[in-house]
Amino acid sequence: MHKVGSAETVGSGGSVGSGGSGGSGGPTAPTSLSAPSVLTKLRSALKQVVGMPDYARYLAHRQEAHPGCPLLSEREFYDQYIAMRYGGGVTRCC
């Protein structure tokens, strides 16, 4: 769960530009000090249920798996996610 925690802080902090230079941990994504609020968790769950892009989760993943690598901006991530989700197979039944 700590994974989600660190990202939610970033996500709610507003827009994060692309970039994020080297250094372990990544300066664009500070390690979380406080646990995510119930509301933030709920919003994230809702987004996953509906299949909406969840930028906070992306940030959390990048921070954990690829610290220091460049990040997509929120709009870039949105475009890529949408293109992937609706760009091919069947995502919904009748």
């Binding site: 987004k47 249920v49 909406m52 475009d79 989700r85 609706y86 091919g88 197979g89 919904r92 039944c93």
Partner: protein, 676 residues
């Protein structure tokens, strides 16, 4: 202690079934249907899905899932099991489980209940789970790819053709459902039209104005939808505005085609994504609301357990109980379409292998429950009212008087005054002959909602239900046309390479246009059909959907046999055998039955006779005959594909079972999980 609870639950479910079985001929409460269903689901989930997971498939909690191994924070994301359950359920549940049971209610509530509950436990949930498992072990491969790799390239091609064909028929029949719900309904048309600018506004908001703020945009969108709903009543009552939004079937059908074409070539962020969010929110909300409403009201079922129409003379659609009840209710019992979803986004999001039974098997049980609720809503209506909405005008006659008289001859009582009062209460000029299931479901839902949450709002609840159905059907038209376009482009690319490029705009326009023309053709045919269109299109949809389920079960059986579990292959062979019996019988009857209401060819002969007798305009009759032959050919193609596919699969199974062919599964290699 635990054992005691399971014994109690089993007894409760069995007791509810006993009540349903014994109270024939008198009205029972919907509570018994709900209890019997839920009791059966729980026992099946606890015992059968565990047997499938542990013994048949060999789920391994130590094995890392693709979500863990390939985690990219985007499509491959390990997701909490209950959240993923919600995601998967939202993806598989749509108009299908709502419409099918409503149409099949013409046989009475008993056959549909039995099929929905036992069909899902032994068929639909097994299919979804096995395909989800197969795709999860193969890094989220699609059904078509699995068919190609595990059975053979020809099977893969058949699966592709089947998917494209089912898509076309599905889009046509759903568009027909919307057309029938909206024709001559200014309230409905106005509120549905409003969804387009609302979605466009949301799309711009989420991408341009406040990127990524999807939740706030969707909440605002839903508030605007409710405003549009209330505004619709004002429009319908205004003598100057109402005529602007009152249109017949053909203009609406053309409107839907133009919409489908434009929507499918616009960028996805502008219209499709916001529409998808809106309809998913509405879908989850409405299903919850319906469940709460049914539990509060617990309506008595007015429809008999079995009606006389089991003999095949039903006005809603022609054909006997067997096989047509099992074709009409696909989603909710077993739906091949789910195999596409189960091999789509969901397998890439499973966190641990042992989450798969809850998501694959449990998600489908939930959809089955939605079908049971739709059945309750339809059967809680007065049968006379039900038939006045669902029988075509050609069977009812033009007025409430003729309709009441015809319904009396069918053995149900309803007065003309009752019918007039009902349409007035929901703010429509007439509800007679609104075939397709959606309007009668909306009346049933409005009854339940107004019973649970306030009596005064019948009209608003009715149009809320219509809007909710139309909203996600329009989303399906857009998304489905797009999927059809991609598949068509893949085929066309083999003919001339540039046509296969999805980034080349002329190719996109051409392929989208072709897909829209294909479903639009069947849509217009359905609107013009004097028998109501649903009579010919819904069975074709059912057959094609069950055909896809047969493809999925063949793939599932192959996976099980190749894993060395031949002695457990019956878990997929049993539903497969049933589906083959149903699909082939229904297909045969739709083509060759001598009754012109049932058989396509008999209808063509009947039409020819009427032209010869001078009672039918030759041009119109000629078109009808052409349509009959197209429908017959389509049913024939579906049947041929099923048989060919089955033969290819059996050959593979025998080869593997006899050891002539090495049983090699194309699974991704084993990696141990880091999730304890």
């Amino acid at each position: 202690m635990q054992r005691m609870i399971w014994v109690l639950l089993s007894l409760l479910g069995a007791g509810a079934w006993g009540v349903i079985a014994l109270h024939r001929g008198e009205s029972i409460s919907a509570a018994w249907l709900v209890l019997a269903a839920v009791g059966t689901y729980l026992v099946a989930y606890r015992f059968y899905s565990r047997f499938l997971a542990r013994t048949v498939l060999g789920i391994d909690p130590r094995r890392a899932t693709p979500a863990e191994r390939l985690n990219n924070g985007r499509d491959f994301v390990p997701t909490t099991r209950w959240v993923l359950f919600g995601h998967h359920f939202a993806a598989i549940a749509g108009a299908g489980p709502l419409v099918g049971p409503v149409l099949a209610a013409q046989f009475g509530y008993l056959p549909s209940t039995i099929w929905i509950v036992f069909g899902v436990v032994l068929g639909g949930a097994v299919q979804d789970f096995v395909i989800l498992f197969g795709s999860m072990r193969r890094n989220g491969k699609s059904l078509g790819q699995m068919a190609k790799e595990e059975i053979g390239p020809v099977t893969g091609l058949f699966a592709m053709v089947a998917i494209l064909a089912i898509m076309i028929i599905l889009l046509a029949v759903l568009a027909l459902v919307v057309t029938n719900a909206l024709k001559d309904s200014p309230w409905g048309i106005f509120s549905i039209l409003c969804t387009i600018p609302i979605a466009l506004g949301m799309g711009v908001w989420m991408r341009v104005i406040r990127p990524g703020k999807t939740v706030e945009a969707t909440v605002a969108g839903i508030l605007l939808l409710i405003l549009a709903l209330v505004g619709g009543r004002y429009v319908a009552q205004s003598p100057s505005l109402a005529p602007l939004f009152t249109h017949g079937g053909i203009p609406i059908a053309w409107g839907l085609m133009i919409y489908g074409f434009i929507a499918s070539v616009l960028p996805v962020w502008l219209l499709l994504a916001p529409r998808d969010y809106l309809s998913t929110f509405m879908k989850i909300g409405t299903v919850l609301l319906l469940a709460i409403g049914i539990l509060i009201v617990l309506p008595p079922l007015r429809m008999p357990a079995l009606t006389r129409f089991v003999d095949g003379s039903g006005p809603v659609f022609a054909g006997k109980l067997f096989p047509f009840a099992f074709i009409t209710i696909a989603c909710g019992a077993i739906s091949g379409f789910h195999a596409l979803v189960s091999s789509g986004t969901t397998p890439k999001m499973i966190r641990r292998e042992d989450d798969a039974p809850l998501i694959g098997y449990g998600g489908m049980l939930m959809e089955s429950f939605v079908a049971i609720m739709a059945l309750c809503a339809a059967c809680a209506l007065d049968p006379g009212v039900y038939f006045s909405i669902n029988a075509p005008l050609s069977a009812l006659g033009p007025t409430v008087q003729t309709a009441a008289e015809h319904i009396r001859q069918w053995g149900f009582t309803v007065t003309p005054e009752q019918l007039t009062a009902l349409s007035a209460s929901v703010g429509e000029a007439s509800l007679l002959g609104r075939v397709g299931g959606a309007p009668s479901l909306a009346v049933g839902m409005a009854h339940i909602f107004s019973g649970a949450f306030g009596q005064q709002l019948m009209g608003l609840w009715y149009h809320f239900a219509i809007m909710f159905e139309a909203l996600f059907i329009l989303t399906t038209l857009d998304a489905g046309t797009r999927v059809g376009r991609f598949m068509l482009q893949e085929f066309l690319g083999h003919l001339w390479e540039p046509l296969g490029r999805t980034s080349w705009y002329p190719s996109n326009l051409l392929a989208s246009g072709l897909v829209v023309v294909a479903w639009g053709y069947f849509l217009v045919q359905g609107v013009l059909d004097p028998l109501g269109g649903i009579n010919s299109l819904w069975p074709l949809f059912g057959i094609s959907n069950q055909l896809l389920a047969a493809v999925a079960l063949c793939v599932g059986t192959t996976i099980i046999i190749k894993a060395g579990k031949l002695r457990y292959a019956w878990v997929t062979l049993l539903p497969l055998a049933w589906l083959l019996a149903v699909t082939l019988t229904a297909g045969w009857q739709k083509i060759f039955a001598p009754d012109p209401r049932l058989g396509f060819l008999a209808h063509a002969r009947d039409t020819a006779a009427r032209i010869a007798a001078g009672t039918l305009d030759p041009a119109k009759g000629g078109r009808m005959m052409f349509n009959d032959r197209i429908d017959a050919a389509l049913a024939g193609i579906f049947m041929t594909i099923v048989v060919a596919l089955l033969l290819a699969s059996i050959r593979e199974w025998i080869a593997v079972a006899r050891g002539r062919k090495a049983a090699v599964l194309k699974e991704a290699p084993y990696v141990e999980t880091a999730y304890a």
